[in-house]
């Protein structure tokens, strides 16, 4: 039985151990990144909004892909996470509106995805599964009891990553 569900807001991160679930709703151009160490049953869900933290005094570390991933890894490592057994999955990075005549608009999702992948690669974390792009929002859920990641979208059956 699942006894608790943690909710992650935009530009935030939550982590937990054991029989619980972590959820973030309606990822649009944002990206949800799950980290899961199956040995410890330690899981985290990070919801980033923008690629990089340009102002190093900005305290909102989880808002950005670069600082968000670094801080999540730092926290999880303190709880015993080993990178070589950690399973990472990502979802989101959609382009919600297609603007005719201005192709650069709304590409933030794509830029977020590229930055997330770059930082994860630098950190030597392998992305095991991803569901990114498209033109629709996704709700992402990590079941920390078994590492299962569920993606919910409009008009489609639930998907397991």
């Amino acid at each position: 039985m699942v006894d608790k569900e943690l909710k992650v807001g935009i530009g935030d991160m939550k982590f937990t151990r054991g029989d619980s679930r972590i959820i973030t709703y309606a990822l649009g151009s944002c990206i949800g990144i799950t980290f899961y160490d199956p040995f410890l049953k330690l899981g985290a869900l990070l919801h980033i909004m923008l690629p990089s933290r340009s102002d190093l005094n900005d305290p909102k570390v989880f808002k950005y892909a670069d600082s968000g991933i670094h801080e999540t890894i730092r926290k999880l490592t303190a709880f015993g996470m080993m990178k070589n057994r950690t399973i990472v999955k990502i979802a989101g990075g959609a382009k919600m509106f297609e603007m005719k005549g201005s192709s650069d608009f709304g590409n933030i999702g794509q830029r977020n995805a590229a930055m997330v992948k770059k930082i994860l690669m630098e950190e030597k974390l392998r992305i095991v599964a991803e569901d990114t792009g498209g033109a629709y929002a996704r709700t992402m859920l990590l079941d920390v009891s078994n590492g299962d990641v569920i993606i919910r979208t409009v008009g489609k059956p639930e998907k397991h990553l």
Binding site: G9, I10, A26, G28, K60, M96, F97, M99, T139, V154
Partner: protein
Amino acid sequence: MSNRLKSYEDMNLQDLDVMKEISSIGTSHAATALSKLLQKEIRISIPEVNILGYEETVDKIGQIEELVAATLVRMSNEVNGLMLFIFKMDLANAVLGKLIGRHYESFEDMDEMDYSALEEIGNIIICSYVNAFTQLVGVQIDLSVPSSTVNMLGGILTVPIAEYGYETDKLMYINAEFIMEGEKLSDGLLMLPDIESLNSILEKLGVS
């Protein structure tokens, strides 16, 4: 060029009053346009101007995973920014009912024709709002062709929040009630000038 404000949340009561005044004129023009289109009398309440964070905006409009239709138009020239109009099911049904005699339980049951009708109406509302605004403030604003989507409210609102994410974590949400044949309909208009444009608008109107 004034740069008194660094973010939406720096707006003081006087600034908000000015925005409310502009919004009041903008929304009444929008209501008139809608009223002509639907051949129905539409009344409108005095709009509220809210400066809210992402989650507060979601809560104020509806549920985070709720399906809504949205029309997005980009502003450029002397004011840069975004205008986003959100249809919830009640307003969409009222409009589609009058316009093409259709009624739905959910946005998922609609077809392309319904979507394009909603996009067009969203565009008309935004354009009449912006036209009133340009006359009042005395600025030139060019509008892009509209773009629209039907999806989760929370996902749609990530678009403006990410677009200005390096400047502010707030959104300017203008909500007025459209009253058509005694029925109150929720509308959601987000007007999002970038910060430079917001400063210049307020300065032009003599608040600085």
